[in-house]
Amino acid sequence: MRVLAAMSGGVDSAVAAARAAEAGHEVTGIHLALSRNPKSYRTGARGCCTIEDANDARRAADVIGIPFYVWDMSEQFHEAVVEDFLAEYAGGRTPNPCLRCNEKIKFAAVLDRGLALGFDAVATGHYAQLRTGRDGLIEMHRAVDAGKDQSYVLGVLTQEQLAHSLFPLGDSPKAQVREEAARRGLQVAEKPDSHDICFISDGDTGGWLGEKLSDVNRGGAIVDSSGEVLGSHEGSWRYTIGQRKGLRIGTPADDGRPRYVLDIEPVSGTVTVGPREALAVSGLDCIRPLWCGTAPTGPLECTVQLRAHGEEHRAVVVPADSGFTVTLRDLASGIAPGQACVVYDGTRVVGSGTIASTSRG
């Protein structure tokens, strides 16, 4: 196959490209320029947004012996990921930009361009496994390395996208990937993993949102469940459901126990706080369903994962008009609208939806 290897400049995508080439594919490396104004050097351990990362990717491609190009995807990324991220926060929701990037950029804009240019597939360094099921459909399963499993952020991929995807690292533990990188002479073998959100270079999401959303939401009241005003804040984007730290409420709760963010009402800017047990969620309404294979037609006994690297909850998923509802057999805590609910059948990803609302209790 003719394979387009998306190379961030990190160790995972470098080894993925090397494995794809070794498997006999005709591999071309591409680095996606996602930032409109990339910085020269990385600060901290954030991957894929600097010239240094592009150079790391180029050097890895040299060592592997494949052609390499930089593709400017900054406009598409800004439109589909950054603006969406801002709009979601402005609407009081908590988005996951990595899922969005996979859905709209890596396995859409990049894949579509690649297919048009004569490539057959996109290979990435994501930790997930692809198999062909008995029905002939491509199944995506959790990675062998549970600590690195990234099937959650790939839960937005459809059958058509999966049919043109390669995840060469899904069967390997991370430690083995680093060893292999060193053995292959890849300079990025010891490069730290990237964390946080790639387009917020200093990692201060609250500060970044404050700068971008200052016109949208200037502040509001912090209240308890009875509506009593406990304090005020300078922008609801600073809060996420389940947050405990940084509330800066002067008076302690009557029972002296810590308080958590229970709800964010974006129009008035009201942030509701309360005790931990009030965070418990027993049900979800999800919109924008994306199924990896066949969509479920009736109630499905399954598990769901509600945040990246989060735990699994036993659940029943029932298809609904604009998405699906989830009844959680294991209660979840601190679940925010905007997050993705990824549905699993054992290790297999069934699909995903965006959490629109939660039911408590």
Binding site: P38, Y69, A80, A109, L117, G118
Partner: protein, 400 residues
């Protein structure tokens, strides 16, 4: 088998230049040392200086060897500006054009950030400097102009500038003129003294010489403030141990490039015209950018610059590269991200046209077979790139 159509980026070294360079590489001797080895090295440098001077119509004392085009441009612009302003503090302006190479534009931008009034004259749709605008810019306040800098020929679209007219306008007010002739030497006739310019940038690797060496030709009477301080090796305006082997190779390349220029220009213009005609035969809506007049007063003979509507230049480049055909999008990278060419934008192209363009540049090793290979590949490549171009306009799939 590689089809190399990127001679404007760098052209293969001439065997004679490589021989002249390697002949010196094994010999010890700092040209500034006083002993026999030093004198031997100095002799190579001075003979090279005379060779360059002979080839380009200047005096040997007017050749300042540098590390290449970027250094020569920076030295000319900053050095001339500072020297002229020191002479008369009213000189606060530099007049140039919107289509200069980044070695000029970025140096000017740096100066502008330090209070220099930089005026960039527009160009017409063919990339030629607007002489009326240039005259207006000078005559609005001639005493404030420290220097004028206009490239001899454009590196992207190959347009040859009316340097004689530029010189006449500037010299009428006693203003010195610098020209970046990096792309011109060896392609069109270049004579320093006859042109009347006061400073001229040259580089080795675009004319069949080695990398990392070039010169600033600088009229004897022109004062220039040095940028690099040290031993003052080159006329007290450029310090640094003189690279005798590279200079020997550079001088040989200069001599041969100028000697063979007339016949090379005829041969390349013929090849180039066939390239354009045949590519347009396969891709009828491919637009030929720059000056369509084929002679050396209008266009570099090795330059063919084409816009392929609906395509991304990056896609075209990648697809041609995969078929062994090497060319350039002609655009500079801004922090690693390819930008639409400032030259095409200045010529009135929109962003999309600018991004849909490729530069094919021919040189001394180019053959008819190169043209055949390109013409055979360009049809399917453009078709592919067009299909991909359409996908990249939308942001992937519609939201569910």
């Amino acid at each position: 088998m590689t089809v190399y159509l990127d001679h404007a980026a760098t052209t293969p070294i001439l065997p004679e230049a490589a021989a002249a360079m390697t002949a010196r590489l094994g010999s010890v001797g700092n040209p500034n040392s006083l002993h026999a080895s030093g004198r031997a090295a100095r002799r190579v440098v001075e003979e090279s200086r005379e060779t360059v001077a002979r080839a380009l119509g200047c005096r040997p004392g007017e050749v300042v060897f540098t590390s290449g085009g970027t250094e020569s441009d920076n030295l000319a612009l900053k050095g001339l500006f500072w020297a002229r302003q020191a002479e008369d503090p009213r000189r606060t302006r530099i007049i140039s054009t919107t289509v200069e190479h980044h070695a000029v534009l970025d140096a000017l931008d740096w100066l502008a950030g330090r209070g220099v009034d930089v005026v960039l004259t527009p160009v017409d749709r063919l990339g030629r400097v607007d002489l009326h605008a240039l005259r207006d810019a000078i005559e609005s306040d001639p005493d404030s102009v420290a220097l004028v800098s206009v490239m001899w020929a454009n590196n992207e679209v190959g347009t040859v500038q009316p340097i004689a007219d530029v010189v006449a306008l500037a010299h009428a007010h006693g203003i010195p003129v610098h020209t970046d002739a990096v792309q011109a030497v060896g392609q069109v006739p270049v004579d320093f003294a006859a042109s009347g310019v006061d400073a001229m940038t040259l580089t080795g690797h675009k004319i069949g010489g080695p990398y990392g060496v070039g010169a600033l030709l600088l009229r004897r009477e022109v004062q220039l403030t040095p940028l690099q301080h040290g031993g003052g090796q080159e006329r007290d305006v450029r310090s640094g141990t003189i690279d005798a082997p590279a200079i020997a190779g550079f001088a040989t390349a200069c001599e041969l490039a100028v000697k063979h220029q007339p016949e090379l220009a005829v041969r390349l213009a013929g090849l180039r015209d066939r390239l354009v005609r045949k590519v347009q035969g396969v891709v009828p809506d491919a637009a030929y950018n720059g000056d369509p007049v084929s002679d050396v007063d209008h266009r570099l003979p090795g330059n063919a610059h084409l816009t392929f509507p609906g395509c991304e230049g990056d896609s075209l480049l990648m697809l041609l590269d995969a078929r062994g055909i090497e060319c350039s999008t002609g655009s500079a990278c801004n922090a690693g991200v390819p930008q639409p060419s400032h030259v095409l934008l200045a010529m009135g192209c929109d962003d999309e046209q600018a991004r849909a363009s490729l530069r094919f540049s021919l040189g001394h090793t180019s053959t008819e077979d190169d043209i055949f290979a390109l013409v055979a590949a360009i049809g399917p490549v453009v078709e592919r790139a067009r299909a991909a171009g359409l996908t990249s306009r939308s942001t992937g799939r519609d939201p569910a």
